[in-house]
């Protein structure tokens, strides 16, 4: 396999990842708009975080290094994309879990206050 074929393969994989991420993103946006409940909306946002952000960022990183003349600025873009993908994969589940716990505790507290007021 020559190097030109290899670069074309890398570019094709990057484009496929970006298109898959666009599909996940529009599904997540429709889900955030249409789903009835906070917890189900959280599920849709997590689809958007992992499928709609981590995948296209890896794709952009592959697309940046698939040029025939690699200069430092495209390597900079690729490293930036991989770094922010790792950050997203660490912080998005943690943040959504903390937010879900806070919403659950808030709901339970409000139910307790309303039931004690009703007595």
């Amino acid at each position: 396999m020559s190097s030109v074929d290899f670069l074309l393969l890398v570019e094709f994989i990057g484009l496929a990842l970006i298109s898959l991420g666009a599909f996940f993103e529009i599904v997540a946006a429709i889900g955030v708009l249409r789903l009835p409940n906070f917890y189900t909306r959280l599920h849709a946002v997590t689809i958007g975080a992992v499928g709609g952000t981590a995948l296209p960022l890896i794709g952009v990183g592959l697309l940046a290094v698939s040029r025939h003349s690699v200069d430092p600025s495209s390597v900079y873009l690729a490293i930036l994309c991989i770094t922010s993908t790792l950050l997203i994969l660490v912080t998005a589940p943690t943040g959504s879990h903390a937010l879900m716990r806070a919403a659950y505790i808030h709901e339970k507290r409000r139910e307790k206050v309303e039931s004690s007021r009703g007595r």
Binding site: I26, A49, S84
Partner: protein, 91 residues
């Protein structure tokens, strides 16, 4: 090369459409947590949007703030959940 630019244009328009849907949820959102969730999804969307604009205009320094946007969304999550669970800072 031409196929790449056309595909990136189509994907950018899909991301703009999901921006609009997230803004609708941000305005409608019944509780505080829905609004925070919409801002989170908006910032994840904004990261990919900036990376796509950087690869489209071939100016990689345009994508520098995406790490900051990711950390900002995480800080917003943690701050709101901490305030709701334990009260304000310093009490």
């Amino acid at each position: 090369m031409d196929v790449t630019r056309i595909a990136i244009e189509v994907v950018v328009f899909i991301y703009i459409a999901s921006f609009l849907l997230y803004i609708v949820r941000l305005i409608k959102g019944p509780t505080l947590f829905d609004k925070v969730l919409a801002v989170d999804a908006f910032s994840y969307d904004l990261m990919v949007f900036m990376a796509l604009i950087a690869i489209y205009t071939e100016n990689p320094y345009m994508a520098s703030p995406i790490v900051l946007v990711a950390l900002w969304a995480f800080a917003l999550d943690m701050y709101i959940s901490k305030i709701v669970e334990y009260g304000d800072i310093g009490e």
